[in-house]
Amino acid sequence: MKFKSVEHVRTELKKADYICSKTIATVVFLAQATQKPVLVEGPAGVGKTELSKAVARSLERELIRLQCYEGLDETKALYEWEYAKQLLYTQMVKEKIDDVIKGADSLSDAVDRIASQEDAFFSERFIQPRPLLQAISATRPVVLLVDEVDKSDPEFEAFLLEVLSDFQISIPELGTRKAVNIPFVFLTSNDSRDMSDALKRRCIHLYIDYPERELELEIVKLKIPQIDGQLARCLVDTIRNIRDLNLKKKPCISETLDWAQSLLALQVEDLSPEIVAETLNVICKHRADANQVAEKMEKIIN
């Protein structure tokens, strides 16, 4: 399946349980049309990873995820030879090797004969593909999610750049692998460091901010359909007020949803300061934040 227009993206993503703004839809549509990677930035919990999952769902593609961390290297991201398997196979086919070299006149002849069988050991069979190679060699188009790319080292970023610009990977023993289908690539970043200009230049940039009121309301209603409309409105307003405070960690959409869930579980029908105070630990993940919210309770619930 393919997205046909920006509007189409929106409706399809909505079907896949993801409500997005027009900006997001535009970028997703462009990324598909131009086959460029999307660099998604924004505060934690606004649905960066979820976006790629939703795109994968609505395009009916497999999602391949590469979680980045400091010290991630090529053997974890690209491919790895399975030495243990190779050695075990060597042991098991030992007799076969005897057959191959049986009747060889000289040592060099025997070596030549073994060399001609070399391919058997450096083949697909013994390679363990990691996410990047998986994404490139997949026969059906996939969605590749490189999560938290800012956590990886700059060297890895440079390496990623190479893969993303050509969509090919060279394995010395096997030769170059070119992508059968260009994957739909999402890179997400939490802004813990600036990405290099070169990487940015190759990507379409998307900044997802906390959603607008209407959008957030829609999201709450979509994810938790049994919630009462009045409560949902009140909830979203409260969350937005809390976001305006100077907090260490502002509550994001996922926290809004968690909160809505827990209010439902508590069978709350109307938000009161007491209720907010009791359920504060769902929204605020720092002690100082919780204190601050408790202090300014009247301002938050008007």
Partner: protein, 460 residues
């Protein structure tokens, strides 16, 4: 269309955004794919291509607003506008009146819908060290530039007022009124730009100092001259470094079963099992963990350096097989137990209070070494790294460097950290010259940076 986008791009560039040609090309390609008449889509395309970080986005949004909203009328679209002719006339007249003042011309251009020159001047007004006046690092130059712009805006404002009221006979009052509101709005937006820019570029990130900032600030201050608040900052910096080091070390252990195979070793082991490789060996081999013994001089000035080092060593305990520490002035006492039982900062205070040593005595390295030899010599072995922190000032008593030599024979490494300024090392009662030859390494250790460097080399 292309022209408008290009004009916008040059505006952005003048205002300090970096936009490459390929990004412009991408943008133009992508514009063909979307519905350009829908402004949200149009803006999204431009933003996705031109503003590639949060900081740039604030900047971009402002420029976008300026270019496509506040100055929209003159972007070449609306020549049919009845006012445009009047605007032209007005500005041409005013332009003729002013005598070659670049800034004023820029303001006039801005009113005419061409913000390029104005933005350029403004950008100069925000770059420190540019513009005339003021020396290195002075912000006087940019200030002057901004002030100049501000003054010119006011001047143009006055001129316009004057001009419009002069035209009372030639123009209808509706036209005059419209002109007036238009120019007012535009001047207001120019003023807004000028006053708003400063903070908006440095977006609303929270300002917790990063690890690097901490280091930059505290790294070069001598331990002895730290004030209380800085000590707290120091602890944070140390905590951050410790966490980082721990990560690195644990990763090294995690990575030991990955990567390239050590064929030689694997086959050698396989020979024991009739050639079946039961155990795999990899090339990556983590370093052996070291055993650490520290001797800290806790007299006066030296203690401040020692406490930070102990703090780090104990935070990094996982990275060593064992850490034993001793404090001494004249005579020494083991404080390992205290550090094991208490939280680190508490332990440091406790060690000072509870250790059985005479704080008021004159420092005597010789005596300390003799006691160490008598009681603890057996804890040194070939896996031990001995770290001594002290200034080596032994008050002219016997330095007993031959004992240090014996200790050296028994351990893997002896490292001496000297918190004294290097210049004074070999003066007066300092025995550094005698001790130096007995150590594998002598390092200065006066500030956080030097200490960090040492700890890093010790752990990694």
């Amino acid at each position: 269309m292309i022209n408008i986008v290009l004009k916008f791009v040059s505006c952005c560039r003048l205002a300090g955004l970096r936009i490459s040609t390929s990004e412009v090309l991408d943008c133009l390609d992508q514009l063909k794919l979307v519905d350009m008449l829908d402004e949200k889509q149009f803006a999204a395309v431009l933003r996705a291509n031109f503003a590639k970080s949060r900081r740039e986005q604030f900047h971009f949004d402002r420029l976008y607003d300026l270019f496509f909203h506040e100055l929209r009328q003159e972007s070449g679209i609306s020549h049919g506008d009845p006012l445009s002719e009047q605007i032209q006339d007005t500005l041409v007249t005013l332009g003729a009146e002013q005598n070659g003042n670049k800034t004023q011309q820029a303001v006039l251009d801005f009113l005419n819908g061409d913000p390029l020159a104005f933005l350029e001047q403004m950008q100069q007004g925000f770059m420190p060290g540019k513009g005339q006046g003021g020396g290195m690092g002075s912000n006087l130059g940019p200030m002057i530039q901004r002030l100049e712009l501000m003054l010119q805006i006011n001047a143009v404002d006055d001129m316009l007022m004057q001009y419009i009221s002069d035209q009372r006979d030639r123009m209808q009052w509706e036209t005059r009124r419209d002109l007036q509101t238009l120019f007012d709005a535009r001047l207001a937006s120019a003023r807004r730009l000028l006053t708003r820019q400063g903070q908006s570029f440095e977006d609303d990130r929270t300002t917790t100092p990063s690890y690097q900032q901490n280091l930059d600030r505290l790294g070069d201050i001598h331990f002895a001259s730290l004030i209380r608040k800085e000590v707290a900052g120091m602890r944070d910096a140390i905590d951050q470094l410790v966490r980082k080091l721990k990560d690195t070390v644990s990763r090294r252990y995690a990575a030991k079963n990955r990567g390239a195979l050590d064929v030689k070793k694997t086959l050698r082991r396989a020979a024991g099992y009739q050639g079946i490789p039961l155990v795999l060996f990899f090339r990556h081999r983590p370093l052996r963990k070291a055993k650490i013994v520290t001797l800290c001089d806790v007299s006066g000035s030296v203690w401040s350096a020692a406490r930070f080092m102990l703090n780090m060593l104990y935070s990094l305990q996982d990275c060593f097989t064992q850490v034993r520490s001793f404090v001494f002035v004249a005579g020494l006492d083991e404080v390992t137990g205290i550090f094991k039982d208490c939280e680190i900062n508490e332990a440091i205070d406790k060690a000072l209070k509870e250790a059985q040593i005479e704080y008021n005595a004159a420092t005597d390295y010789g005596l300390t070494f003799r006691q160490f030899k008598r009681d603890y010599m057996e804890i040194l072995n070939k896996k031990t790294t001995l770290i001594i922190i002290g200034d080596g000032r032994s008050n002219y008593s016997n330095p007993e460097e031959h004992i240090l030599n014996e200790m050296r024979e028994r351990c893997r490494r002896v490292i001496w950290l000297n918190p004294e300024t290097q210049y004074f090392w070999f003066t007066g009662d300092s025995e550094m010259r005698a001790y130096q030859v007995c150590c594998h390494e002598v390092r200065p250790c006066q500030n956080l940076n030097q200490l960090l460097e040492f700890i890093q080399s010790l752990v990694l």
